[in-house]
Symmetry: C2
Subunit: 142 residues, 2 copies
């Protein structure tokens, strides 16, 4: 069994609040959200970072990132969206399976240091499930 938690999630061997899935890509809520609706988009195939993934696959990945970002924005009524993709521990990468953060922002968490202090809000399982449901609803109407 793979030790990569994101491989486990994409293979259905670990739980996650999935909001999108197709043959190549999966999107699910971060379990350490900096805000409600904080979503991760990953290729199903394991690549450690953006250096390793082929150009055509990174292109497809970000096509889906855009689609999911719009859904997240509407689902949580965000005023802005920050998209972040970290490569290497020095850049803040914690899980070494390429992933893209979609972080919804509202005026009360105006772009400030707090967002990047890695002190995510505590979110209950119920709150995460509810957020995922809202995002899935947005995606199904597009």
């Amino acid at each position: 069994m793979s030790e990569c938690i994101f491989c486990q999630i994409t293979q259905g061997k670990a739980p996650a609040n999935i909001v999108y899935e197709d043959q190549y890509v999966m999107a699910f809520l971060s379990n350490r959200p900096v805000n409600a609706g904080h979503t991760l988009v990953v290729p199903k195939k394991h690549y450690e970072n953006i250096y390793d993934i082929p150009e055509e696959e990174v292109a497809y990945l970000f096509k889906i990132v855009k689609r999911v970002a719009l859904a997240v924005k509407d689902a949580v009524s965000a005023e802005g969206i920050r998209i972040v993709q970290n490569n290497g521990e020095v850049a803040g990468q914690v899980v070494f399976h390429l992933h893209v953060h979609i972080i919804p922002l509202k005026p009360h968490n105006r772009c400030n240091d707090k967002v990047y202090r890695n002190k995510p809000n505590q979110c209950s399982d119920e709150a995460l499930m509810e957020d995922a449901q809202k995002i899935r609803r947005q995606l199904s109407v597009r």
Copy 2:
């Protein structure tokens, strides 16, 4: 004349340290770098944010982002790369022409608040030109 500074740059009406250019996309150094080699990748066509750009165009944009990110990493011997794309003032967007930040990181600027405090290093024109030259050299060998 367009008032958008990035449109002016892509149209050759304002100066920039360009590291990559094709029919659809341009990459140039940030003039407010958080680190040496901090590069912006933009679509030549004006879109305010990721919500507005068509999926096929955002896919192409990020294909080039990956290519430029590798070049930046090698050009400045970065240990990590952070890729950031901000949508909306609340997310830290300052220029309202869609752009993707490629931010090289080294151990001494380990992912910390500093990087996001919007107090960019002061870089001389000469230093910027030299960084751009290094990145162009990397791109031409790929």
